[in-house]
């Protein structure tokens, strides 16, 4: 769900958001495209974006629509724990929608426990405090941070995101968590030459096979 002012994103997602908006993308268009997705797709589906477009669409209406389509969760980086609990938790729960919350290397243990208690689905573990697509290398990852969280025995599975761009970073992330989230590398993989389905298949293959 593109937004005009993606403050948590680096240049890649900024640029793709701009292109998507120019092409007329909106939440209405997205819901239209997803109307029958559950006839062919059974894996969990999570929508990612910023709060303001959802806010304008109407948070309650948005959650109902997600429920109707069969969307499982949202990642809205500017909807943090405190504001979510105060205003929207009930609406999300009524619509079986999980709001995925983030943790970073700076997040305190007490707050991680709080986030774990409120979360359903999974926790989005940010590999290092940065905007997306910052291009940090696998050796920059804080193994001690990953291990610290691993030993907390959280009830939710964790997925590691930010800086996952190839097989090496992906494999490393999977050592410490249930999986990884790939954004910038994915959107920059689309090429003019390949059909989108082929381009995605190629990308996934590269991600899974060591170079």
């Amino acid at each position: 769900m593109p937004f005009s002012d993606p403050t948590a994103d680096g240049p890649t997602i900024q640029r793709t958001s701009e292109i998507a908006l120019k092409n007329g993308m909106s939440i209405k268009v997205l819901f239209d495209q997803l109307k029958t997705i559950r006839e062919s797709v059974s894996i969990p589906l999570v929508l990612m974006g910023y709060l303001n477009p959802v806010y304008q669409y109407g948070v309650e209406k948005f959650c109902q629509k997600c429920n109707e389509i069969g969307i499982d969760g949202t990642i809205l980086p500017d909807l943090p724990l405190d504001e979510f609990e105060a205003e929207y938790k009930t609406i999300f729960e009524q619509n079986n929608l999980h709001n995925i919350l983030l943790i970073t290397p700076q997040t305190s243990e007490a707050r991680i426990r709080q986030i774990d208690a409120v979360s359903k689905g999974f926790i989005y573990m940010v590999s290092s405090s940065s905007t997306t697509g910052a291009g940090k290398k696998v050796e920059d990852f804080h193994a001690d941070y990953f291990e610290r969280i691993q030993h907390m025995n959280l009830k939710n599975p964790r997925l590691i995101g930010f800086g996952i761009s190839d097989n090496a970073t992906f494999t490393n992330a999977c050592k410490y968590a249930s999986g990884a989230i790939i954004g910038s590398a994915f959107v920059s993989s689309f090429s003019e030459e390949l059909e989108i389905a082929d381009s995605v298949a190629q990308f996934v293959k590269n991600m899974l096979i060591p170079n």
């Binding site: 937004f3 500017d78 943090p80 943790i103 970073t104 707050r111």
Partner: protein, 393 residues
């Protein structure tokens, strides 16, 4: 204290801290510590001393007799343009640099529109010997060239921002991204009463020296602390917040904020957020925003780079919603007329931003005995190129 922020960071329905988790530790530390720090005796002592000896406060409250005669009502100018660096912005950056030092931060970032906040930030960083990075929209870099050079001379690094409309909103996005990428050693000096709680309250407190002085000066000069009305321009709204602050609960004082209408509020080239906007979440605050039906932020326009912002501080959104303050809008053309009028009636060349407040004098009904205070937030030095081009001198 009806119009003060509550413990959760809200002014009525507006405000809060809608921050990505990557900013949480920094914002939470500020939230927990800002009041204790800025209310401590040692902080107050150094802050007041610097305001006096370095900024040059108190700024005069000047009775503008020829302008008063022109309008047939008493007009006073609060001369923030006479502060060191030429605007009210230094009040806030002095406060925040002292706070940053208390927090042990060694790197300062800031966003700037007209460059006044950038210069004020670079100035306090030079004063304290702290590294300074200023984000500025590429369009503003070109239309406010003298301020860019000043910042560089002061030792700051100025990073032009090429995303979006290349103005203040985009510079703010980029400063936030910098803070996310530098979560430990950096303090972000936001220049206005915008952003996540506690910034709107913290910046308003630092700027509140304007209305604190105004009360004393009015009492001395008119026999009453209370003017009939106070007028101030509003982009994010920091000078207005400072000028209104100690009068918020004195409902007999009329408060008027003046937004930038740009080419007119009926056109799509405007920056008058309250006139054309609706509630939403931008830059970590729920406030009034200029946006389309899909919740995408629309590009503002104003001749004045300092007011070229599609949001407004949550305090002002609340004052608007409750009717405590009235908000008007002045077009580029009305503003330029007001610039020339003040220049030739009083020998004071105002900043484009401040001239919005002056232009509103043509839009309100004033009685001969009314006491009108205009917060003259900045000097026109930085706008000379615009003035020379427009007026053809």
């Amino acid at each position: 204290m009806k119009y003060q922020v509550n413990e959760k960071g809200y002014y009525g329905e507006f405000g809060g801290a809608w921050i990505p988790e990557m900013m949480f530790t920094n914002v939470d530390e500020l939230k927990r510590r800002y009041l204790e720090i800025i209310e401590s005796d040692s902080f107050r002592k150094e802050f007041d001393q610097l305001l006096k000896d370095y900024v040059g406060r108190p700024s005069p409250l000047y009775y503008a007799s020829r302008l008063s005669e022109h309008y047939g009502s008493k007009i006073y100018l609060k001369r923030e343009d006479l502060n060191h660096t030429g605007s009210h912005k230094l009040n806030n950056t002095i406060g925040q640099i002292l706070l940053a030092q208390q927090l042990g931060k060694t790197r300062i970032i800031a966003e700037t529109g007209a460059g006044q906040h950038g210069v004020a930030t670079a100035t306090v960083c030079a004063l304290k010997g702290i590294k300074c990075i200023v984000y500025m929209g590429a369009l503003d870099v070109s239309r406010q060239a003298p301020n860019v050079k000043k910042m560089k001379m002061l030792g700051a690094e100025v990073i032009p921002v090429h995303s979006g409309n290349k103005t203040l909103k985009d510079a703010t996005n980029e400063a936030m991204r910098d803070w996310i990428n530098n979560p430990e050693d950096t303090h972000y000096i936001i220049g206005s009463v915008v952003g996540p709680h506690p910034y709107p309250d913290m910046v308003a407190r630092f700027q509140s020296v304007i209305s604190a002085e105004m009360k004393k000066q009015l009492l001395e000069q008119t026999g009453s602390e209370f003017p009939t009305r106070i007028l101030a321009c509003v982009g994010g709204g920091s000078n207005a917040a400072g000028a209104f602050y100690h009068y918020l609960d004195d409902e007999q004082v009329e408060l008027i904020g003046v937004e930038a209408a740009g080419k007119g509020i009926a056109t799509d080239e405007t920056a008058a957020t309250l006139a054309v906007g609706s509630p939403g979440v931008l830059h970590s605050s729920r406030t009034m925003l200029m946006q389309n039906n899909d919740g995408q932020i629309t590009e503002p326009y104003s001749i004045s780079a300092g007011l070229d912002y599609p949001g407004i501080g949550p305090l002002h959104a609340h004052l608007f919603k409750t009717g405590r303050a009235k908000f008007l809008a002045a077009t580029d053309e009305e503003v330029l007329k007001a610039v020339l009028l003040l220049t030739q009636k009083e020998g004071i060349i105002p900043a484009l931003e401040s001239a919005h407040a002056l232009a509103a004098l043509d839009k309100i009904k004033m009685n001969p005995d009314d006491v009108n205070v205009i917060n003259l937030s900045g000097s026109g030095n930085k706008d000379m190129e615009t003035y020379l081009n427009y007026f053809g001198y």
